[in-house]
């Protein structure tokens, strides 16, 4: 069933984060729970040789891109078994050989970098594309507008994906950004802009596939806005700024519940198979935790390695 993969990937992210949140040593993290459909829907449109870049909210994108959960967790917790040997952490998780060029924890900071990777692809005559995920917070930054302009001018193979979770830390999107829809930002540059319900993995996937096809064909960049909700505060160290009723209402929009209900209604899923998929996710996550717990922290004598 084609939807099984989408459900499995979203369950993996949710389960991974639930276990991570429960640990005392989780450190400073930004979670993707509630926003799984954005990463999973987008990654369904990417091919192995494409590259994905994202913000510091990297757990969802990395797992959706197919990075091994044990390697991701090791990186998040600073263990040497992470792909960056535990040096990058959540903010700078990267495994380019797996099509995950990496996170960058400066808001909007990865946009011009992604355009540069797209320029490299274009100048090498490759047919691969680059996708960059960023939050609504990045839409007020000059970097986005500089990137849109040049990417349009040079027809770069760049799929920009705004994961609009409607808050930059505590500032609501309505208080921070003037446009009606964030995809409207693409229009002045002649770039196709589409807004979809980011809690509906099918809507994200269909839009991402269609835009990725355009980008791959050489038509230049595209802009996809996915309107989503985050289930947790901005980060593990940020206070929840939203009223309790709002957070409770947000949790009614769960993308996993929505897809599984659709699959049950269409006869493609029943409760016992869903439970089996959940157990499978639990098992993958506990293997990842055991792998990470068995690994060590870097030797401090290597602190100067790879500096220059």
């Amino acid at each position: 069933m084609p939807d099984d993969g989408l459900l499995r990937d979203m369950l993996l992210i949710r389960t991974f984060e639930r276990h991570l949140m429960a640990r005392k040593d989780h450190g400073f993290q930004l979670f993707s729970s509630g926003e799984e459909a954005v990463s999973v829907g987008l990654c369904a449109a990417l091919l192995p040789d494409d590259q994905l870049l994202c913000s510091g909210r990297s757990i969802g994108p990395a797992l959706a891109r197919g990075l091994e959960p044990g390697l991701v967790l090791s990186e998040l917790l600073g263990k040497v078994t992470g792909p960056c040997l535990g040096r990058g952490g959540r903010g700078h998780l990267a495994q380019p050989a797996q099509g995950f060029f990496g996170a960058h924890a400066v808001v909007g900071g990865n946009l011009t970098i992604a355009a540069g990777v797209a320029l490299a692809f274009q100048s090498e005559g490759r047919s691969d594309i680059v996708s960059c995920m960023f939050g609504d917070g990045a839409c007020g930054a000059g970097a986005l507008h500089e990137t849109l302009n040049i990417a349009a001018l040079w027809r770069l193979p760049l799929l920009l994906v705004c994961n609009n979770n409607q808050y930059s830390v505590s500032t609501s999107r309505a208080d921070a950004l003037a446009p009606d829809k964030l995809s409207d930002l693409a229009a002045p540059f002649g770039i196709t802009g589409v807004t979809v319900d980011g809690m509906d993995v099918h809507a994200v996937r269909e839009a991402a596939i269609s835009l990725a096809k355009e980008v791959r064909s050489g038509k230049g960049p595209a802009f996809l806005e996915c309107v989503s909700y985050r289930f947790t505060p901005h980060s593990t160290s940020a206070r929840e700024s939203r009223p309790r009723e709002e957070v409770e209402a947000i949790r009614m929009h769960c993308p996993i519940d929505r897809l599984s209900a659709q699959m049950i209604a269409s006869g493609h899923l029943d409760q016992s198979r869903f439970d089996g998929m959940q157990r499978e996710a639990d098992e993958r996550v506990s293997i990842a935790f055991a792998f990470t717990d068995a690994a060590g922290f870097p030797d401090p004598s290597g602190v100067l390695d790879h500096v220059g």
């Binding site: 792909p83 060029f101 990496g102 001018l153 790879h306």
Partner: protein
């Protein structure tokens, strides 16, 4: 660009125009618009895209017309490029050269600054600043073979100066200062355009019987402290000359590091006054060092020793 057919040149006015200081003249005709790319006035995107391309395997050189404008592009250079190799444990690196111009030449408070000392403290970033044509060639050759980001600083007043450039490929290694002149009484340490007043001062001082050991740093990060220490062990007197600010400046760093290794020496720093550099010719000249100021500082230092 001949050796590496994928390398890109990015920046403002670098195409058919040839660069604001004609420093890229001819390259557009030789390599075409795909490889010599004019960009809109968007410094963060110029450097960010150059860094992204470099990290994806396409070496790039980005021109930022004035060093003052590099401030707009420090995020991709400092937060991304300089840290990329470290943060990914060597999975990625950014072979990019950012070429810019520093120094005063009548263009005012936001077109004259020398902010290289801000950037000497960024781990993973190399900083070089030639003082003559041969070094400009040899340092650029080396910069384009580096695996990480390099900030390459031209000085506006040096563009019209003539100089010998070898016909053969000549690589000047980073972190190797040039011992330009031998002397006994004082070590003068400078770089970039300030080498010119420094050498003039050395001539004037020699006429007074004071001989100078003169060192051209060429590379600010890494810094060749060893060559300076060798000189200062001989002269026991150090004067640093820079066009930028003295506070947290190049001279402050050199003076402290030399003193960590060599005891009982006299040190003076010469640099710009703590004021913006105006386009007004009188105020500009008043704010930056010249040969007379260097001569006066050395004479004072020598006289203090005698008295």
């Amino acid at each position: 660009m001949q050796h590496n057919p994928r390398m890109l040149l990015l920046g403002q006015d670098i195409g058919a125009f040839g660069g604001s200081y004609r420093e890229f003249e001819g390259l557009y005709d030789m390599y075409g618009a795909d490889r010599v790319r004019d960009m809109p006035v968007a410094e963060a995107a110029m450097v960010g895209m150059g860094v992204g391309a470099a990290a994806a395997g396409v070496r790039s050189l980005v021109s930022i017309t004035y060093m003052d404008f590099l401030i707009l592009a420090l995020d991709p250079l400092v937060n991304y490029a300089a840290k990329l190799r470290y943060k990914t444990a060597g999975q990625l690196h950014a072979p990019i050269v950012v070429k810019t111009t520093a120094g005063a030449k009548g263009q005012g408070v936001a077109h004259s600054q020398c902010i290289e000392s801000w950037l000497m403290s960024v781990p993973g970033l190399k900083v070089v600043a030639p003082s003559n044509a041969a070094d400009a060639y040899g340092l650029l050759k080396s910069a384009l073979r580096e695996e990480g980001p390099v900030l390459y600083i031209d000085h506006k007043r040096l563009f019209p100066t003539a100089g010998y450039v070898p016909h053969t490929e000549n690589f000047i290694p980073f972190g190797a200062a040039h011992h330009v002149r031998q002397g006994e009484h004082v070590s003068l340490v400078s770089y970039s355009y300030m080498m010119s007043p420094t050498l003039q001062a050395a001539d004037q001082l020699e006429a007074l019987g004071i001989t100078c050991d003169v060192i051209d740093l060429r590379s600010l990060a890494p810094l060749d402290i060893g060559t300076i220490c060798t000189s200062v062990r001989k002269t026991r007197a150090l004067v640093t000359i820079e066009e930028g600010q003295l506070t947290c400046g190049v001279g402050a760093e050199i003076a402290f590091r030399v003193r960590e290794q060599v005891n009982d020496i006299r040190v003076r720093r010469i640099g710009a006054l703590a004021a913006p550099v105006s386009s007004n010719p009188v105020l500009e000249a008043a704010s930056i060092p010249d040969a007379d100021q260097i001569v006066a500082a050395v004479k004072t230092m020598i006289n203090e020793e005698i008295s």
